[in-house]
Symmetry: D2
Subunit: 309 residues, 4 copies
């Protein structure tokens, strides 16, 4: 990061607001020369909004992370496939007929639950938010606390963004041979320390990314990729055909910043709807899909309706 800033860039692409952090401290003198910065993570955006709220933000930033072309597609469609890919590569387990527990029903969880069901698994969802849990129920999934799901699942995958979602008491309740993995935020979603303590002995490496812990009494629990992101550790991450949208969002945001050099207000900008529509339209075109356009009559109808008449 220091090296990057020593090159005195005009536009920065940030992950977690780390560059921005430096530009407000050690490299504060450079901030005025930056046309704008893009931020691609939720954590980073939160930091930026905190800076903005405290009126300390020194340069315009674009919350690329908040673009629907970024989060709605790679989180949902990418995670669904790549997580199952990681689980299958690590275990070669048959999903059909298995009981698959998805912890968290956000975009990642929805994608994963939908794909696991599509592969023939019976899916159980755990959640902490009542509205989201109700959507999962209405989507036909069984919803219950992890304490109840623990004894039912054959495969567990956390996608919550939170910490210690699968804990000591859950390991204790699991079936012999249960597979446990994480495709969420960091490697904190599964309480690996609690598992190591419960097991006593170090795990046995059965295959690449597949470790077997033996609990007192002989029960075996299979942990993938040591609790790190299973789609990155045991497979190849998201397919390029969905990451292309995230990268298009980044680069068009950069173009926007470059073209508006010196004109952008110092605040957290969201990507314009025009750019999002452009990315989606290019993606559709690349897939050979055409869609309707509004007729003049329809534009008038919507306009007058929006006007409330």
């Amino acid at each position: 990061l220091h090296a990057a800033l020593k090159h005195k860039p005009h536009i920065t692409m940030d992950d977690g607001a780390d560059l921005i952090s430096l530009l407000h401290t050690d490299y504060a003198a450079q901030a005025k020369d930056i046309y704008g910065s893009m931020e691609e993570t939720t954590t980073g955006v939160i930091r930026l909004r905190a800076l903005e709220r405290d009126k300390k933000l020194k340069l315009p930033v674009v919350a690329v992370n908040d673009a629907r072309t970024k989060n709605m597609f790679d989180n949902r469609y990418g995670t669904g496939q790549s997580t199952l890919d990681g689980i299958i590569r690590a275990t070669n387990i048959l999903l059909s007929g298995s009981v698959f527990v998805v912890a968290g029903y956000g975009w990642c969880g929805r994608g994963l639950a939908s794909r696991a069901r599509g592969m023939g698994a019976r899916v159980i969802v755990t959640e902490v938010d009542h509205l989201v849990a109700l959507e999962a129920v209405m989507d036909g999934f069984e919803v219950m606390p992890m304490a109840d799901a623990a004894s039912k699942g054959d495969i567990f995958c956390t996608v919550t963004g939170n910490t210690h979602v699968i804990r000591k008491e859950h390991f204790a309740a699991m079936k012999d041979g249960a597979v446990v993995c994480n495709s969420g935020h960091f490697d904190v979603e599964i309480d690996m320390k609690a598992l190591a303590t419960s097991a006593g002995a170090p795990p046995k490496e059965l295959r690449h990314s597949l470790q077997e812990y033996i609990l007192p009494g002989g029960k075996r629990l299979l942990v993938l990729a040591e609790g790190r992101l299973v789609n990155l550790a045991a497979a190849e991450g998201h397919p390029p055909t969905v990451m292309d949208m995230s990268f298009a969002t980044q680069s068009l945001a950069a173009e926007y910043v470059a073209k508006n050099k010196g004109k952008l207000e110092i605040k957290v900008h969201t990507l314009s709807l025009e750019i999002e529509e452009l990315i989606a339209s290019l993606k559709l075109r690349s897939m050979g899909v055409a869609i309707d356009t509004l007729t003049d009559e329809q534009k008038n109808y919507l306009a007058s309706w929006e006007g409330g008449t």
Copy 2:
């Protein structure tokens, strides 16, 4: 409405901002006595926001329509089922193996497309918004302009909120025996006048809510409920087990207004997240579904993460 206002109510429940309109014109004197009003339609909310923007709003209003407990559930899960119910009652057509064209992929369209697929239909989606169209593609649906879909569909259903989505040129391209209906906004989504003109002769009533138009050359088109909402006209509307959430939202909004008599700012309020969570939690409880709660450790993790550390 006049009668309602002559009773000098303290709280009003509005549909389309019609009461509010009177309270800003003929009954303007009463506005100051109203604790607050609830609005349950999109159209109404748009009018209210226009009033607010113009600084003409005279009383606090709650945009009940914008609550997720209102629009995400009855639009999606209610419309999906009740629309198919209406189509089947009117026609007794087999959905399995049919080509089902859904015009519009909003909440209603998603619900309908998902349920039609679940009944064995092959679903084609038409859209005007690139981002939404891309979601439909990623969800596995075929997406194309109505001009192309017209010659492929066995059943067409509009859920766009727009006007004349199925027009003269589309009728001309349709297959003999195609079924055409609407479950969207008003009876304007299908251009019924164009169809009547194309047909020349008046339609034949084949069954309740099922009219047959014969086009030059002998092609028969079957229109349900004269283009009005097929789930209301040919079936019973949404099941009570999803409308309960909409009504709970209305009544808890009313309670909130009553409890905060005189304290609400004069503006368009959105329902608090607490009330939404309460409704969802009550609904889950009524279904016998329990969910997880955050541990203290998790609350701290989220808090510190939200703080950006």
Copy 3:
């Protein structure tokens, strides 16, 4: 039936082997004048095979029931839709988010389970056959004994062809408000007498085809169509677009019998594959669907492969 036989028909279409029964007893003299008879039920075919086995069969019969164009399509695709149609008309219950118990995973049960899931229900299957139960598990359904399912279901539907599948002990375990119906064989699948005895008082007619039984303690159970076939009693039976295949099978079988007058061996004939293929090809053509044909090279490959080289 007597009237029919008094007309001295040359070809008969039978249901349950009742005509055949008369042609082997009171009207035995006529049997030799009949070119052949078609039988469209499982029960009838069983009777005919018993007659054949005992060498008492007096005329050629065609087991139309055994044609795949008959049983694989109307049982599976017809029953799935029409049963849900009956349940929704009788109750207007929301399937989305409900727990739907399907008793029996034969063709009818598969169709029903698949469609109920497609409408957003969480489906539990009960079975007595291990192989079939295992298929249900692999298809992603939860499988358990009725004794366990009884306390979990919101809606129960029997499609087993057996008797007293839902019994006194199951009613006792059900939730308040549970919906119970049958779409299987006859009205014997639900033990209605046991329910009546448990309830004490006669049921209350809530809507057409919807009766409420109140059990000691106040629990309400909702029975549809008095346990008779819910798709016939509360809806319109199978859509014509699937019955057309069953009727085509009947009429082409009749044509076959007529064309082969005097040449058919006296036994239970199964419909020739050629006729089945013809029906399927006509149905596909009516739907506008074309398929591939084998190349000469492929025919040779299959022939030589079948020869084992």
Copy 4:
């Protein structure tokens, strides 16, 4: 094989009837010492039935391949998952939103079509059998000849058991970047010679199991595993949790042969229903699934119904 026979086995497990072939030619003298042989392939069973028909069969054989515990499970549930696994490992392509062409709708094709849809693909099926094609239509898939599908597909997979299902004219019609693979019988389903001839130059190895052919005009076609079975070549084949059923079938068939030493008629035996039920019940038990058992009343009902009363 020669080595195996030189050990003078009493029971043989065969694949493709190769051992049996030797036991009817070079090792004919040993045939009388063999208690029985198991055959696990369709091709082998066809050869055996040919031998039986010609009254040349010299020892009892069990058509293990015909057991439902063998073919209904690994073909359907195994192939569905392992084929997608192979495709994803070779290409890391996003299935969601892709057009996936499945050639052949047998057990393998059904499994594959169902799983590809479950992963978000839009599935097109090609078939040569009208009845089977009609089932695919009724299951909601688009059915068309390969000549039409060729220009629509993003991914093609053959599972027909036939030869040259994808040919020169199909390659010519495909889109730039189309992925072509086989998970059917042998490496003959895709006409690789025709592709090599069309391309002129040898293919480029892009990744393991992924070759790029460039056609005149510059169109790129991606072939996986040189047209051999993609689930074996690019992934790990079927998961053990479904192969266990096939192996259980083999070993229980062997036990049956051993226990009935000298008593088995010289013919092609099918595995008894009792053994199939045993395997299924053991598999269910291993998954923790219990099912219903018939009551005495139900047994009587079925017996009397089967008797025709």
